[in-house]
């Protein structure tokens, strides 16, 4: 499927989603990982981790994000920055940070 679901389009969609959430995403870091990030064929969902400032922000984003709103179902995981650091998450998952401001994406692994 990823042959047609372009990684760049998914990143653009995720940025658009983040913008639509406004101040709720303030201070968060969005990480794309898994098959879409690798541009593997046959992706069945979009793996996204969001690192949050607090438990409250993580809970709020769980409520705010519609996992059916993109081209593929969103497989969403929410962590605090502290949790992500505790298990070295970004590196382990070889994720790509999605720039929420107007800059290019970068790998974090």
């Amino acid at each position: 499927m990823a042959g047609k679901i372009k990684r760049s389009n998914v990143i653009a969609d995720l940025r658009e989603l983040a913008v639509s959430l406004g101040p709720k995403v303030s201070g968060t870091e969005w990480h794309l990982f898994g098959s879409v990030n690798r541009d593997d064929p046959g992706s069945s969902d979009i793996d996204l981790m969001i690192f949050c400032q607090s438990d409250t922000q993580a809970d709020m984003l769980r409520q705010a994000i519609d996992c059916d709103s993109l081209q593929l179902p969103l497989h969403l995981s929410l962590f605090t920055f502290e949790e992500a650091a505790a298990i070295n998450l970004a590196s382990v998952q070889e994720s790509t940070v999605i720039p929420l401001s107007n800059t290019s994406d970068r790998s974090s692994g």
Binding site: A58, D59, D68, L78, L89, V92
Partner: protein, 214 residues
Amino acid sequence: MANLNEWVADKLAQNPHEPKIVGYTPEQYLIVEAKSGYKFLVAVIGVKGIIQAAHVQSLFVGVNKPQLVINVPSETLWSGAAIHLIHAEGAAFGKMGDISRAADTGNAGAFRSKSMSYFINAMEQHGNVTSVSYLFESVFRVTRRIGTDLTVAVIDAYNMSAEDIRNTRALMGYFDAVVKSTSYGSITPQAEAAAESMGAKALTFKGLMQWLAK
């Protein structure tokens, strides 16, 4: 149903690698054709909240019966009673993404979530377990030979976070243990603490197997 069918048709049509819809039954079930040519019927329901047996019972009274029942939105919970009814009719349940997976089996009614089947089989084969039944699609009542019955929630997470624990409790209610469905990845210390604060355990598959024996 028409709007939901259109939504599903639109999603499938966006990707030429997905199965295609080749028609509708009089009951408005989708006639889906896999790349292999295999055809099956999909009923699309739009229940918000918990899907009960009453929501799906009427799908199986007509001439045409679906082999797969999907719900939109996908975040909705399937109750154990709804699942048992669907399985008793020789059908399967799932979400949008499962149409493609069911098509690949060549027998959509036999489609089962791989990760849940793995857990169910493993728990059923455990020496201290006599039966496993669905409470929800990913929450099971486990009856043991020695020890009390346990409620086990399985979550689809590569790495289990405290938010996963809180979200599982909010959605599915009580559990004695929450288990990560994938064998790789980690459970954060904060997730373990969140589970403990609820009087529950956050476990890996290996941890679950050991814990069931206690």
